[in-house]
């Protein structure tokens, strides 16, 4: 069952410091309210994967790997390839992560990243059909959190997109229902680039890209995923607090602008 989480004793002690700073318009790591932490994206770090990317977002580290395999389509979408997003909060990333089946936070993260990719139609799934109703390509995106210093959703979404941009597959054609892989290597059929921006509310102030200390004292967070046309394709509110309608509208418009910067950065890292 989903249950209220306990705040660590250290976080409780730090709570006052973080909140006091925020109320003075400062942040624990000296950033402005709308400053993103330094971000680096490295593509193709895992040779065995079809595509991979590592993201450093401040001290947060996330790796995503893409594998492309053959499989059977879902009955209600016989002509579409399949996208699956999974995430692992591996125990080496944080003292609060435990081994075992994914908990609700890991599932939430994977599903929010999945929605961004799926709803922006980032992958042209029609182009991954081999034989209608029988055989399609399946794209597995596996997200590995390696170091948790806050804002895992944004880092994971960025790594997932990076890995998809990096992913390659064999060109193929189909004759009499038989799949023939050609020698030529082609990129995945991408047509959109969703980017997530997470904003947290601490006391009555909102700040972008929370670090772990801020995340632990936040009342709530809002993730807004936008595509290359500045349309919103996914949103998720989390945490035990509430937003006013004005805060939500403000966050949406800030997120669109920030997402443009990040998108440009990811696309620049390809070339």
């Amino acid at each position: 069952m989903s249950a209220t989480r306990q705040l660590s004793p250290v976080a409780k002690l730090e709570q006052k410091t973080v909140v006091d700073l925020i109320l003075k318009g400062k942040r624990i790591d000296d950033r402005g309210a709308n400053d993103y932490r330094p971000t680096t994206i490295t593509l193709g770090i895992i040779d065995k994967a079809s595509g991979s990317a590592q993201v450093h977002l401040g001290k947060t580290k996330v790796v995503a790997g893409v594998k492309v395999e053959k499989g059977t389509p879902f009955p209600d979408t016989p002509d579409d390839g399949i996208l699956t997003v999974n995430s692992e909060f591996v125990p080496l990333a944080s003292p609060t992560f435990e081994s075992g089946p994914p908990d609700e936070n890991s599932i939430e993260l994977a599903r929010v990243v999945d929605r961004g990719i799926r709803e922006s139609k980032a992958i042209d799934l029609k182009k991954l059909c081999i034989e209608s109703g029988k055989k399609v390509f399946m794209v597995f995106v596996d997200i590995y959190v390696l170091d948790h210093d806050g804002n895992l959703i944004d880092a994971a979404a960025m790594a997932a997109l990076g890995a998809l941009v990096n992913a390659k597959m064999h060109d193929f054609d189909v004759k009499n229902g038989e799949l023939r892989l050609k020698d030529a290597i082609i990129p995945l059929p991408l047509q959109n680039y969703p980017v997530s921006i997470t904003t947290t509310k601490i006391d009555s102030t909102t700040v972008i890209d929370p670090c772990l200390e801020e995340e632990q004292v936040m009342t709530c967070r809002l993730t807004v995923t936008t595509d290359k046309n500045d349309n919103i394709c996914a949103m998720q509110k989390g945490g035990l607090g509430v937003f006013t309608p004005d805060e939500i509208k403000q966050i949406v418009s800030t997120s669109i602008g920030k997402a443009r910067d990040i998108r440009a950065k990811i696309l620049a890292s390809v070339t």
């Binding site: 989903s2 998720q236 509110k237 309608p245 949406v252």
Partner: protein, 255 residues
Amino acid sequence: MGGQKKTAQLIDSNGLRVDGRRIDELRPIKLEVGVLDKADGSAYIEHGKNKILAAVYGPREAHPKHIALADRAVVRCRYHMAPFSTDERKSPAPSRRELELSKVIRESLEPSIMSEYFPRATIDIFIEVLQADAGTRCAGITSAALALADAGIPMKELVAGCAAGKIEGKVVLDLSDIEDKQGEADLPVALMARSNVVSLLQMDGSLTPDEFNQAFEMATDACRKIYEMQREALKTKYHIVRDVEEKNEIVEAKA
């Protein structure tokens, strides 16, 4: 969104939807409070073809003990769909979707619950979807808020949920099953109406910022309407309170 192929025209030439509603019209909603005998609080909602039961147990002793918090009650929530609630049988094992929804539903109700009154206890919320017809998380929240009130749990106020979305390029309120599967966007919202704050907000699909604002207004307006229905449902169950209220009105009228 559902990604299903379009099989039907979702808005006709008169601007009416498949079930005859206008674009800003809610489906019929029926609310009933105190429907289960053993639960400390319970409520039943029919929202369109959704049929959902919510039950609350607690505050009760935390079990296992180690989950207890020293400064407030642990709020736990389980959202679950019955195997027979959908077109195709759903496995009774909790899916990833149900686990995520349990979390966001809990986070939508918890801001209202005054859990600090019950340290070391748990408040358990169970939502069982008996029949699903799109918008189950919102209807689940609406009913669970009533069940919490029925259990006598101190709350800042009620929480009401409703979704808006987009079909055939138009922003519409409260998607039905077919609209959800063939539509272009879904925006579930939960609102604490008196203080006008949002405790649940999710979105999937594609909306321009303007469409988002429009859908958001539509959904929050509907939440306010549902909030009034929730109040009526509570008054119907606790009619003694209503009697007192009416008497007071009579006294006021005389004075």
